[in-house]
Symmetry: C2
Subunit: 347 residues, 2 copies
Amino acid sequence: MQQTRLDIARIRAARRVIDPVFLDTPLYRCEALEPGLGCAVSIKLETANPVRSFKGRGTEVVASLLAEHGPRAVVCASAGNLGQALAWSGRGRGLDVTVVASRFATVAKLDRIRALGATLELVDGDHELARERAADIARYDGIRLVEDSLDLETCEGAATIGLELLELLEPKGQQAEQTELAELAELTALTGTAPPFDTVLIALGGGAMATGVGHVMKALAPGVEVICVQPLGAPAMTRSWHSRHVVTTDSTDTIADGVAGRRPIPAVLDDLLLVADDAVLVREESIIAGMRMLLDHASLVVEPSAALGIAAVLEDRDRFAGRHVVTIVCGSNVDVDAYQGWVGHHR
Amino acid sequence: MQQTRLDIARIRAARRVIDPVFLDTPLYRCEALEPGLGCAVSIKLETANPVRSFKGRGTEVVASLLAEHGPRAVVCASAGNLGQALAWSGRGRGLDVTVVASRFATVAKLDRIRALGATLELVDGDHELARERAADIARYDGIRLVEDSLDLETCEGAATIGLELLELLEPKGQQAEQTELAELAELTALTGTAPPFDTVLIALGGGAMATGVGHVMKALAPGVEVICVQPLGAPAMTRSWHSRHVVTTDSTDTIADGVAGRRPIPAVLDDLLLVADDAVLVREESIIAGMRMLLDHASLVVEPSAALGIAAVLEDRDRFAGRHVVTIVCGSNVDVDAYQGWVGHHR
């Protein structure tokens, strides 16, 4: 594999500074989903933690570094999950956290950012305007800007999910931290142990999770296909991946607020080109069908971004027939009324 | 503490035979619930596994013992969760599993028992009739009867939840398995470490979870108050606990199907008298309000039994004001239409 910005040793080190409440999340086969999808499906559940998304992994890395030797004030733009996670991680370490978000963001996310004691500033525009405003605040106030997916800590935090996906590869009782990469590769070769899954489906937004988990797969389990999934209504990064250069869009139109960016970051795209095997776009109705399947057959309430993997299978059953996919259920912060409107059986 | 039928060393041993997919479940503070409840609330989430309830812990113990040196055929009565879990655990070990259930049981639970390859027999009556029928089958066919809460393995499996609740008590890196009881007690005394919670709320049905988790608390963290919660519509065990002898009821009337027994088992009551600090009854509307709070503020779909702890706080806010409760969210197997009918925002 060519060099991405990521590194397995750093990812293992990141794992050691993350609060355990975000680690070792459930990974389980969900057979009730399988008749409807035509393939084996395992869920990696990133919602059962204090901020209900995977973003705490990255903000723990960011905040622990800042608490050690950085400025005590920090700002980020967020569709809601990063901001909530940074507010949580910052509060525990006495950091002063500012979050900039679109005033159209999910209300539950904004409420929880405020409840965690962060300063919340709303912009009258979309997430890209929030990014600009956050950068301005950082510049004017001289505080640390956390840029999701660009800042390596956010990718390394997300990448720890990948290490946990591979735990089944490892001999019992031997921790990821204690296993050298070479040893692991050798062991895998010797025993012929295959991972119990052959495909990982990753929601694609800014790219932190896709490049992070993708890097781990390509480094430690290169046989696993890494497929990124984005909504047709917010296709910038996927189009960029296919054309191998940054493609921006003028607007987004999707309920999957967590992945609705318009301006991919070049360095992140470069990494994604090295670790993703494919990037696919899915329709809104497939996202909703995926959310409904996760409710009906897995008793899981998820936000739209977390249903992208299931949506990808629904849109291309032939491709996945007979395979074993892991889908990362990455967040569950929804406005319940909106959620009920999407999936509601009672109308 | 007087002797219950349980034993910490056996519970630790049980933990070693349980498939890891059921262990180390999420335990996290859920602050979004707290303004509505007036106390600190942590969730121990037992739903993110292949059978979506805590029952897999017990059936793993049962099935691993049977696979080693027992009969290869087994029968149990179940409201649905035990049967599903026994079907899962038995399938993995080549056991022949029969489940007897009421024909009024939750459809989703029955479907999943069948899907896991167990033989399902329905009786035209309630759970107590299913218990009688399962005992008859065991007698006539000479196969092993698994009796929930009476069979120690079911209590020991559930008790492993208690060990995990106490992990925060233990020094980092030291595993429960490696810590002797005396050492742990000494360490706790020396460091003055208090558990980060002072109350555990446990759904009370047959009593496996209440006696199991209660035993662990009384043995290793006697300062934690153990409160059992049962629906007013199925109060037999709670009434028995208060009167210190078995009290049966003629019928049950509750949506909390998982805990709707009428005939407490004397040996289980004896244990419960030794480990529970209180047993309370809650109204159906409080159970529904609890389910709705878990959906609105924790993005969790739960079955009614799993909302009993929240219901208990809702019914007696003064008692819990300022305290830190852990509530075990013990199952999420619901018929989605019924669930939507209970909690639905859209009607």
